[in-house]
Symmetry: C2
Subunit: 229 residues, 2 copies
């Protein structure tokens, strides 16, 4: 059901098991594993987030995908690098910039996520958490764009993808050209979440798949081709 | 008075003359030189912007600093690259992300720019243009943060610099580590504009200079050391 492949681990050919945890169990589970919180809730208290890994060969636990990528590159430097030498700051800024460009997508995705993807206990937790952080007090239903606002917000998503398309430029397969990197894994993950939350046959996914000459489906396919264990 | 050094041209050891143009003359001058507009005004009409170059050895005119950097790398590939191979998208996203992180600075800088830096004809043009684009209808006086809002907005600037400091990471001189690149020139240019618009002896500049272990003054100094003609 939910796509299981972890791009960073697979690209480095590090075998793994995925354990799914319901949202209410995230904080106690990570605390028990001694994994530090990655950010703060709007009230200032520590926030524990997934993804997180526990590396059985070192006993180390790490949360947050960029920190995980850095840990894996440092611990397994002889495997292909997720963050090519000298690009750490650029990769981090790329993640921030592409999510900023596509931020309007979240209001379209959260309702589907709460209704169709998550189990009830996770769904209730997700609804409350997103209301208090990303959605600034709105419920996922209230935040879901409708009518004229839906057209305007969807136009922003299209413009966001167009901007990223311009950054990557014609003829480049990946963000860094021929070399795949963490930036592609993050972007491909976002695109897969869009496809999964909207549904493969939805008009919204068909729009995304049609934009920028089909670049976004190709990116997912090209990333997946390089991330088989 | 205004710092004359152009980082990209200097780094590539390409000699240049700087010609200053008052804002009302930008559009007719670039049109006469056959240089295309780089963006659109809020009303949808084309917008002509500086910086722009005319390369006498090819007769080519190019506007917008990133496009200029790409042109220079393409035309003078044997000189040190401004955009190291494979980093085009990452560099473009970095510019977007760092400006997003520091966007609160503009409201502090625009009033000083209009009052103390620009000549009267440019100042009038600048006030009208910024009111209609960045400031969403506010004058530079109305947008200048005061009272509690000033503290909140200045805190956002500090947090923005802290975020960029985290991206670059400890021990790294430049965005890409030991290698200087366009990203550093853009960031150092922003920092110099802050120092210049606030004034070297202003409390605001002293704050910026004190943040993140003095990284921002060092960055300007290190960039300047590599960009002497």
């Amino acid at each position: 059901m939910i796509p299981l492949r972890r791009f960073s681990l697979s690209y480095k050919k590090l075998p793994y098991n995925v354990v799914w945890i319901e949202y209410p169990e995230v904080e106690p589970t990570l605390k028990a594993l001694g994994i530090a919180p990655t950010t703060k809730k709007p009230d200032g208290s520590p926030m524990y987030t997934l993804p997180a890994i526990v590396d059985p060969s070192t006993g180390t636990g790490v949360a947050e995908s960029f920190a995980i990528a850095e840990y894996l590159d440092k611990t397994y430097p002889d495997r292909p690098l997720l963050i090519p030498s000298g690009t750490r700051a650029l990769q981090a800024a790329f993640i921030e910039a592409f999510i900023g460009a596509l931020v309007s997508m979240f209001r379209f995705s959260f309702l589907h996520t709460a209704e169709n993807i998550l189990n009830p206990s996770s769904s209730a937790h997700f609804r409350e958490a997103r209301k208090n952080d990303v959605l600034g007090g709105l419920t996922v239903e209230e935040a879901y764009p409708t009518g004229e606002q839906a057209n305007a917000e969807w136009k922003k998503v299209e413009q966001g993808f167009a901007k990223i398309d311009q950054w990557i430029g014609e003829g480049n397969k990946f963000v860094m050209g021929d070399t795949v990197s963490f930036a592609d894994f993050a972007l491909a993950g976002f695109i897969k979440y869009t496809r999964f939350s909207q549904g493969e046959d939805s008009p919204k996914w068909k729009d995304v798949a049609s934009w920028n000459g089909g670049r976004w489906t190709r990116l997912v396919r090209d990333v997946e081709a390089l991330t088989t264990l």
